[in-house]
Each structure stands twice: as structure tokens, then as C-alpha cells.
């Protein structure tokens, strides 16, 4: 197989950011998308704690994410001659941020969140209410995701280690990303977990049968 010739981008929906609620609501779990425009990202637990403090104090974030995106992506930013450059980015495990996301999605009216591994039901509920989707990024996709970075718009909270900073980037054809949770209450993660749980009695029976065959050989 030649992965270059493969149809990995076939059928991917190209989306311009910022995106309207109506356009977000058109997306369905399982869709492949490519993003153009400005995105905001961070991978830090301390960052989420800080955002929570800002929300509690009704203080504006240094980068406004209202009606925008907040992706769980770690990035390497460094300041060169007074200007930030971002060398690479890649997703981190989103479920680490489960406790924060429902409030953030509602408070900021986020249209897109994402990372890898999905979010829990409370987040999916908030996404349904607000009109927001979860986009699943390829883990181990740093070389591909980073090639989509066209400009560093802003880097905030640089008192934190690089991957904890709040970073705003302009990207072109970022993806393909998979809609893991749509704004209609469908979560691939939830469905797959339920499916695996439902299959487990049969799977365990299969293990018993295979074991019995080995033992009687």
C-alpha cells in the first residue's frame, strides 16, 4: 500500500473558522473534516485551572475564545527576537479535562473542542445544548498537524511551560479530523464503549471456547 496515494482525504468536509452554530449542527459523528482559520489550543491542567479561575472572577482570558475553538493540543512555542514561533503540535488525552469542559463549553459558547480520546457525557450534553462538536485528532500526528500551521497569532501565559500555554494559530487544511461527538448527542466514544460492553459476554465465551480447545489438544 502506498499511503500517499491513499484516499485518506476523500470526503473530508472543508470548514472555515469561525464557524456558525448552523454549520456546526450540520456535522455528524463520523464525518471527516479539514479546518481553515484560527484555532486556540492548550494541553495543560494548570491552564484549565487558571481558565476556571478567570471564569469565576468574570475576568476576560488573554485570548478570547468566545464562540471559537479550544483544542487539547500540546505545542512547542519559543520566543525568537520578541516573536513566538510554534515548532509542532499534537493532541493530548481530552478526558483529563472532563471536569472543566461542560462549564467552558457553555460559558464561552465554544463551537469546536477536540483532542484525542473524547469527552464524557456531561460534555456531550453541553455540546448539544450550545451547538459544539468534538474533533478527534490523530495521536502521533505531530508532523502532519504541524504542517497545517500558517501563522502564530498569539501566545499567552508564557510563564507556564510551553505545552501549557494558551496558543492561537492560523491553520490551513488542518486534518483530517474526525467528528467524535456531534451537537445532536451522538458520541462515537460512548457508542463504542457501550458496544464493547455489550459484546463482552460473547467475547468472554469465545475466550472460554478457545481455551477449552487448547486444553483438549
Amino acid at each position: 500500500m502506498d499511503p500517499k496515494a491513499d484516499s485518506w482525504m476523500d470526503g473530508a468536509i472543508r470548514l472555515q473558522l469561525p464557524i456558525s452554530e448552523a454549520d456546526v449542527r450540520k456535522l455528524k459523528a463520523g464525518d471527516f473534516v479539514l479546518l481553515d482559520g484560527e484555532i486556540v489550543l492548550t494541553a495543560g491542567l494548570p491552564t484549565f485551572e487558571r481558565i476556571q479561575d478567570y471564569v469565576a472572577a468574570n475576568q476576560p482570558l488573554p485570548i478570547d475564545i468566545t464562540g471559537g475553538t479550544l483544542f487539547h493540543l500540546g505545542s512547542y512555542s519559543q520566543e525568537v527576537d520578541g516573536k513566538f514561533e510554534v515548532l509542532y503540535m499534537n493532541p493530548t488525552t481530552s478526558t483529563r479535562f472532563n471536569p472543566f469542559m461542560p462549564d467552558f463549553i457553555r460559558h464561552f459558547g465554544l463551537r469546536m473542542v477536540g483532542g484525542k480520546g473524547g469527552l464524557d457525557q456531561a460534555s456531550a450534553d453541553a455540546m448539544k445544548e450550545v451547538g459544539c462538536v468534538y474533533l478527534s485528532f490523530l495521536g502521533g500526528g505531530a508532523a502532519l498537524h504541524s504542517a497545517a500551521i500558517k501563522a502564530v497569532v498569539q501566545v499567552a501565559w508564557d510563564d507556564l511551560v510551553a505545552h501549557y500555554r494558551l496558543v492561537k494559530l492560523r491553520v490551513e487544511a488542518l486534518g483530517p479530523l474526525v467528528v467524535g461527538i456531534d451537537s445532536h448527542g451522538n458520541s462515537s466514544f460512548e457508542q463504542l464503549s457501550r458496544q464493547a460492553e455489550d459484546r463482552m459476554p460473547e467475547i468472554l465465551r469465545g475466550l472460554d471456547e478457545a481455551r477449552a480447545k487448547t486444553e483438549t489438544k
Binding site: P3, F32, P46, A142, R211
Partner: protein, 289 residues
């Protein structure tokens, strides 16, 4: 000739760098085979994307993943190896050298668990364990950096005289809990027996086994085969797209123990970071993945 501080330091750095930028050849082949066999269209796209990502990182000298993990090394010293200098320090200095020189630089993932402070250095870092090989005239170093994505799903439970079905059910419970969060298709390492510490170690070492190799004991190989089939029936698929490819291997190692039997389960994500080298007295260096 002897195996010197300088060569060990240089190899320790090189192996780590290789883990970050190049996925093993057998892993690329396994992904290609999975792509051919996969019946779920979304899963096929993701498997193709994985190969594309791996090849892009390798050919453009970039990191495959942004999480460089924490440094983990396994060192086996041949009893006929001639060592010259502080070999233990050389491994630690090798990691420091990597941090200073690698391009692009790596992020700070070494974390003080008590304060959550992050840096490149920390207590007991790098995590190195040592073993001996009787009669060998070389030192063997394996590097396996561990990142959060798959690292956080490892688990261990201690049973009392468990039957095989209890052990296998536990493995499946761990698989269910991890879902698709460990960047599947994964390799799953299972350790059975020994003591708490030994069991965890053999599970981890099991993840480093090349694809296509089964446990030499037929009973254990059969267990690996049925567990792999069972895991792939869960349907999580690559990165949770659904599909047939959740694991590329289940590798089981066991050790005799007491009647309290630990079972350890751990995962290596699809990029399957592992690299090793044998450094001989005569200066030869043999690399393996």
C-alpha cells in the same frame, strides 16, 4: 578495546532520538497489514493517515508525537563485557545530551509527582533497570520512552490462585477501561505471576517484543492468540473510529510466584516506541528495534 562512557552516552541519546522520530519497521508493516485487512472505512483512513504521519516524521526529521515521554532504559551487561568508565552516569548524561541537542527540542514532561512541576530532570530519572547476560561480550541497551497517552492505562491487580479465565477477564477489563484513549492499535503487554514489581516489569518488557514473535511456550502463545482476537472483537478500532484493529499484538510473559498472583497489563500506543543496541567489546554496534 572496551565499552566506554562516551559510546554508552552517545548510544543512550541516539536510541531516544530514534524512538521519537522513527517508528519501528515491523510496526509500519503491521499497520500496512492491518490497513489491508480492516473492514471499517473510517478505520482504514486512519491507518493510512498513521502510516503517512510516520513516514513524514521519519523523512522530514520531525517528532511523531509531541509527548516525548519520560526516559526509560533497560540495560543488560554481558559478564564478558569490558567496561571503561561510569556506565550508569553515561546513560543519564546521554539523556541530558539528547535534551540539549535534539532538533526540534522536546517538551518538559518529567514531572515531580508531589508538586506537579515539570522539567527535563527529576528524581530517579532516567528510569533505568539493569540485568546481566552470562558470557556475553557486549552491553545491550533498550530504550522505551513512556508518554501519558498509553502510560496512564497500565494496571495491576493481585489475585489469589486465579484460573486462566479470571486472568483473561482481567485483561479484558483493562482493555475496556482504556477504550480508544491509548492511541490504538496498541501492543498489549501482560505479565502474570512473580511479585508485584517483577510482574509489572515483565509486562512492560512484553510490549517491547517484535511483531510476529509469540511466546515460545505453546500454552502461552495460544493465550496470546485468543486474547488478541478477543481484544479486536471489542470494536474500538484505530483512534476510536470503530473497526477491527484495536491491538496489533498481545504479548504475555509469566513468572513463577506464590499463590498470590499479580496480573499486570500495559500498552504501547501505535507508534510503538522502542529502539535498542548491542555494543560489543570490539567496537561493533548492532542496532535493533
Amino acid at each position: 578495546m572496551a565499552i566506554t562512557y562516551d559510546i554508552i552516552k552517545s548510544i543512550a541519546a541516539e536510541l531516544y532520538g530514534s524512538c521519537l522520530k522513527k517508528i519501528p519497521e515491523d510496526t509500519k508493516d503491521a499497520l500496512k497489514r492491518a490497513h489491508e485487512a480492516e473492514t471499517n472505512e473510517g478505520a482504514r483512513k486512519i491507518l493510512a493517515l498513521m502510516l503517512r504521519s510516520a513516514i513524514t516524521a521519519e523523512t522530514t526529521n520531525r517528532h511523531v508525537c509531541s509527548d516525548a515521554g519520560v526516559p526509560v532504559y533497560f540495560v543488560k551487561i554481558g559478564t564478558a563485557a569490558r567496561l571503561d568508565g561510569n556506565i550508569k552516569q553515561a546513560i543519564s548524561d546521554g539523556f541530558d545530551h539528547l535534551v540539549e541537542t535534539i532538533d526540534p527540542p522536546i517538551l518538559k514532561h518529567v514531572t515531580n509527582p508531589l508538586t506537579r512541576e515539570r522539567g527535563y530532570k527529576g528524581k530517579d530519572m532516567p528510569l533505568v533497570s539493569y540485568d546481566l547476560i552470562d558470557g556475553a561480550d557486549y552491553v545491550e541497551i533498550s530504550c522505551s520512552p513512556k508518554a501519558l497517552g498509553s502510560g496512564r492505562w497500565a494496571a495491576l491487580e493481585i489475585f489469589s490462585f486465579p484460573t486462566l479465565d479470571v486472568i483473561e477477564k482481567y485483561v479484558m477489563d483493562c482493555v475496556l477501561k482504556a477504550g480508544s484513549q491509548h492511541c490504538p492499535p496498541v501492543v498489549i503487554g501482560v505479565g502474570i505471576g512473580g511479585t508485584f514489581d517483577h510482574c509489572a516489569k515483565i509486562a512492560k518488557i512484553a510490549t517491547l517484543r517484535p511483531y510476529g514473535q509469540s511466546n515460545p511456550e505453546p500454552v502461552v502463545a495460544a493465550m496470546e492468540e485468543r486474547l488478541l482476537a478477543a481484544v479486536n472483537k471489542t470494536g474500538f478500532g484505530p483512534m476510536g473510529t470503530g473497526g477491527d484493529t484495536t491491538a496489533l499484538a498481545v504479548n504475555v510473559e509469566y513468572a513463577a510466584g506464590h499463590g498470590f498472583t499479580p496480573v499486570a497489563v500495559c500498552f504501547n500506543c501505535w507508534i510503538n516506541r522502542r529502539a535498542g543496541a548491542r555494543i560489543y567489546n570490539d567496537g561493533r554496534i548492532e542496532r535493533f528495534e
